[in-house]
């Protein structure tokens, strides 16, 4: 089932004037403007940028888009709109920043209902006043909760609390044809009906536009500590990871940072009562020292390689890539981590690309950053070298971001199990292919 036959595309042509009228009627004249080069997505300058300020306006916008066969790309903060292959076409960017704010926060229920265009930072600030948080420990200025859910990435604390997928308990979203639908609810425990929130999480704006989301919350921890050890080899890094996850340390995060040259830092985050946290951190430090020692290739002049801190390292929760660089996500079974890290090294050496690995080693999901200016051929070569090995660690390799143009020339997603079912889901939700067409797996 490939992309649809282009000759089957509707031939209706609407004049720009009548289109503008139709869209302004939907969202209000003051919330519609013409697109400019700064609004381009994947090289396409959209004809319009709409900024609906309510779910009803968003619904009207999608109805109009369906009527006129306009391709719509939803956006939040626009911080990562470049990710993924370019859409096949872009007529309207539907910016959700006008749909912001906390709708309801019942602290006693540890639940918040929030509009999709709300910046994560604003949400966290509001929750902090009640001693609570959404348990994603990243500070990503400008990113909206809708954009975060749509991209479905994660921060370090996914080991302890799961990803947003696990924290999302309900959603209101607008389908391609404008239908407003709800899924889940406002209670954490709820098995009534299919959990469409999980389907929307990580759907990259291709199934529906999120209008409101409901998250379960966690109390802010009384105290946090970060324990860092270093490892010179992939096997050493993996031994540290196993030493933590197989222990009783109850780590909330186990993150790895491995610059192109130089050893890997493995940092573990602990949370808990102030009275016990230092003792727990010290015990974990000792455990890591033992594990590190058994892998040390040379004595370290007696200095302890373990560092205890009440601050996160500067790289914590940040992507290992500079603007213009290439970002790749690679996953593995936990105990095959050395194979994946070894494959990074081999591919990096073979292609001459300096690769910076970082991410959630404790769950087997890492990001790989390549420098800006990397040659597309070399990147494609590196990706195929990594993919050639995925059978050995049962993971996947996905190219999330790269310079414009590059993402169109390589297979960003690689093999996708269940693709036919996914395509059938897309056909049901968006039969006209107007929501970010072509951005997602298998040309979805």
């Amino acid at each position: 089932m490939g992309p649809p036959d282009p000759s089957a595309a509707p031939s209706t042509v609407s004049s720009p004037g009548s289109l503008a009228a139709s869209l302004s009627e939907a969202v209000g004249t003051e919330h519609l403007r013409l697109g400019g080069s700064g609004d381009a997505v994947g090289g396409f300058v959209p004809r319009f940028v709409a900024r609906p300020v309510s779910t009803a306006a968003l619904s009207a916008l999608m109805r109009a888009a369906t009527r006129h066969d306009l391709a719509v790309v939803p956006s939040g903060g626009g911080t990562r709109l470049s990710w993924g292959p370019a859409p096949e076409r872009v007529d309207v960017v539907a910016n959700t920043k006008g749909m912001a704010g906390v709708v309801e926060h019942v602290a006693g229920d540890l639940v918040v209902v929030v509009r999709a265009g709300t910046a994560l930072d604003d949400l966290q600030a509001a929750l902090a006043r009640a001693g609570q948080r959404l348990a994603v420990d990243g500070h990503w200025p400008g990113a909206t909760v809708g954009g975060l859910v749509a991209h479905g990435l994660s921060g370090p604390s996914r080991l302890g609390f799961g990803t947003l997928r696990d924290l999302l308990i309900g959603a209101t979203f607008v389908r391609a044809d404008g239908t407003v639908a709800h899924t889940g609810g406002k209670v954490v425990k709820n098995v009534a009906g299919y959990d469409l929130g999980k389907l929307l999480h990580g759907s990259w704006g291709t199934l529906g536009v999120l209008a409101e989301v409901v998250f379960r919350l966690h109390p802010r921890p009384p105290a946090s500590r970060w324990v860092t050890a270093t490892a010179g080899t992939p096997a050493g890094a993996s031994a540290l990871v196993q030493a933590v996850v197989q222990s009783q340390a109850v780590a909330v995060a186990v993150e790895l940072d491995r610059p192109p040259q130089g050893p890997a830092a493995l940092t573990v985050m602990l949370e808990g009562p102030s009275a016990t946290i230092d003792a727990r951190a010290a015990a974990l430090g000792a455990r890591l020292a033992t594990a590190a020692h058994s892998f040390a290739t040379s004595p370290r002049n007696g200095s302890s390689p373990i560092c205890l801190s009440d601050l996160a390292p500067p790289w914590w929760g940040r992507l290992p890539v500079d603007p213009g660089g290439v970002l790749i996500r690679a996953t593995t079974e936990l105990d095959a981590l050395p194979l994946l890290l070894g494959a990074f090294d081999a591919a990096s050496e073979a292609t001459g690309l300096a690769a910076h690995a970082r991410g959630s080693a404790g769950v087997g999901s890492l990001m790989l950053g390549l420098p800006a200016g990397a040659a597309p051929d070399a990147v494609a070569d590196l990706v195929s070298r990594l993919r050639a090995g995925t059978g050995r660690w049962n993971g996947s390799v996905v190219v999330l971001d790269g310079p414009p143009g590059m993402l169109g020339t390589l297979d960003a997603w690689g093999p996708v199990a269940g693709l036919e079912l996914m395509q059938r889901v897309k056909e049901q939700f968006d039969p006209g292919r107007i929501l970010s067409p072509g951005r997602f797996v298998g040309g979805i």
């Binding site: 089932m1 089957a8 019942v106 006693g108 639940v111 479905g152 799961g162 997928r165 696990d166 389908r175 239908t179 407003v180 639908a181 709800h182 899924t183 609810g185 406002k186 209670v187 425990k189 709820n190 098995v191 009534a192 009906g193 299919y194 959990d195 469409l196 929130g197 999980k198 389907l199 999480h201 759907s203 109390p219 196993q242 996850v245 197989q246 009783q248 340390a249 109850v250 808990g272 009275a275 016990t276 727990r280 593995t332 079974e333 936990l334 769950v363 049962n394 996947s396 690689g414 996708v416 199990a417 269940g418 079912l421 996914m422 059938r424 889901v425 056909e427 049901q428 039969p431 797996v441």
Partner: protein
């Protein structure tokens, strides 16, 4: 030969005769699940032994346009495994192999018929367990857990089945076996696992399941606290949550539920209590002790007149025995009862209990309350005597009114037992037509012919229609040569 007899023949030659049951007497033993007042005898019962056989059965059903229903251990409480009179019941009870316990990857791979507790038993020696712990865990299957997205007392801290499934080998309603996810995280594409888990058998059948194993906690501390009233116990729960504590479990029982449990298992709960709380704290030993002290203090401050701390595993088991046997125990104090399952926002607990008491008094029907207080999941047990004229109807009314109350308070019609046959008619009270229609788009994507557990979850099936861009071949019934037989 009838089409069903032909199907039986086909499956017998593919799976062996012991895998196919068509004898009416033996078929009848499968007529209901844990919700025993719904009964339908299936036209055929098939017991595959591997995922490939499971796929063969489904493929044969799909070819013949025959509806099929999956069944694990049949403990479901919403009639989800209620058979279809003209359909095949596919039972996983011969698929009980634990394929792999893999501690270094923190995963187990199991066949769908494996009993929930057996996963924990097998993982225990490695210091791991399978976190979802429904009270039925000694019997219910992991496949059933997947279908119902089951939880248990400890899901307050550890989440539900959905949070613990990382891979599925799934038999689609067309009979294809697809592998989604595995031991590694973040498979690319839509989160199909997220909709398969909790789909109650309506999107296909789990043929093999990869689950996350959780490290057994270093320390577990369990407390039984007796209170004068459910209001006092509820206030203690609010204080515990409000203080930022996250116990592994907080369970509450009211006086009537305590009386029943006492009669059945002699758990020795505090005499004269209007309510008891069972609170469990686990984690790193130092933290557990610390948090446990806080929990005890909050209970005392809110009027607990007796605090009993489990000194060892035996005492801990005794505390839990009262709670875990509560459903069955009600049989000691009432000939018949309905187990209800609804959810309210936790902060609405006092109001919900007051209004349930009022409903009970007005109808003259006793209601015993057992619930997961930490997350607002109520299990009111509505007691009645079927021998007495009109009692069953009144109990049914009270039970339904409790669900309406849950919806009104912003909760859900089911927290863990699922919608199944029983609650499909309540779905429109919680969701709009558009919401239900949208959910059914997923159904249409997976099962356009509507053969996989038809009639469950949704009150009215959606016509899937022709999807634009998809080739429409001959109707499967026609191509299978059985169109005129059905």
């Amino acid at each position: 030969m009838t089409p069903m007899a032909a199907l039986a023949e086909t499956l017998r030659s593919a799976l062996g005769s012991e895998a196919v049951i068509d004898d009416p007497q033996r078929r009848r033993t499968y007529e209901c699940d844990g919700l025993a007042h719904y009964k339908v005898t299936p036209a055929l019962v098939v017991l595959p032994t591997t995922a490939a056989e499971l796929a063969t059965v489904v493929r044969a059903c799909a070819a013949g346009g025959v509806p099929f229903v999956a069944r694990g251990s049949g403990t479901g409480l919403s009639g989800g495994a209620l058979p279809h009179a003209d359909g095949v019941l596919i039972v996983t009870s011969r698929m009980r192999r634990i394929v792999e316990i893999d501690p270094s990857n923190q995963r187990a791979v199991v066949e769908p018929g494996v009993v929930n507790l057996d996963v924990t038993r097998a993982a225990g020696p490695y210091g791991y367990y399978f976190a979802p712990d429904p009270s039925s865990q000694q019997v219910c299957s992991v496949g059933g857990n997947v279908a119902e997205n089951s939880g248990g007392a400890h899901c307050l801290k550890y989440g539900f089945t959905a949070n613990h499934v990382t891979g599925l080998r799934w038999v689609t309603p067309q009979g294809d076996l697809v592998a989604i996810g595995g031991k590694a995280p973040d498979p690319p594409g839509y989160d199909l696992l997220g909709v398969m888990v909790g789909s109650e058998g309506t999107l296909g059948i789990a043929g093999e399941i990869t689950v996350r194993l959780t490290r057994s906690p270093e320390a577990v501390r369990t407390l039984l606290a007796g209170f004068e009233s459910t209001d006092a116990a509820g206030a203690a729960v609010s204080a515990i949550i409000g203080a930022g504590l996250v116990p592994a479990a907080i369970e509450m029982m009211d006086a009537l539920a305590i009386e029943a449990a006492e009669a059945a298992v002699h758990c020795g709960y505090p005499a004269g209590a209007g309510a008891v709380l069972v609170v469990e704290v686990d984690g790193a030993a130092a933290d557990a002790t610390h948090e446990f002290d806080d929990v005890m203090r909050h209970c005392e401050e809110h009027g607990a007149f007796e605090l009993r701390v489990a000194a060892d595993d035996r005492e801990r088991a005794l505390i839990w025995k009262g709670r875990k046997s509560a459903f069955a125990a009600v049989g000691r104090i009432s000939p018949d009862y309905i187990v209800q399952d609804g959810v309210i926002p936790r902060t609405a607990l006092p109001e919900a209990l007051r209004r349930i008491a009022a409903l009970s008094a007005a109808a003259g029907v006793r209601v015993a309350n057992v619930f997961h207080a930490g997350d607002g999941n109520l299990h009111p047990l509505v007691l009645f005597d079927d021998a007495e004229e009109g009692q069953a109807e009144r109990a049914e009314e009270v039970s339904g009114a409790i669900l309406d109350l849950c919806i009104e308070l912003g909760g859900s019609i089911t927290g863990e037992h699922g919608v199944g046959s029983d609650k499909a008619r309540y779905m429109p009270r919680m969701f709009s037509d558009d919401d239900l229609d949208t959910m059914q788009l997923v159904r249409c994507a997976f099962d356009p012919e509507g053969l996989s557990n038809p009639g469950k979850v949704f009150p009215t099936p959606r016509l899937c229609g022709e999807v634009p861009g998809r080739r429409s071949g001959p109707h499967p019934l026609v191509s299978a040569g059985v169109a005129d037989s059905f």
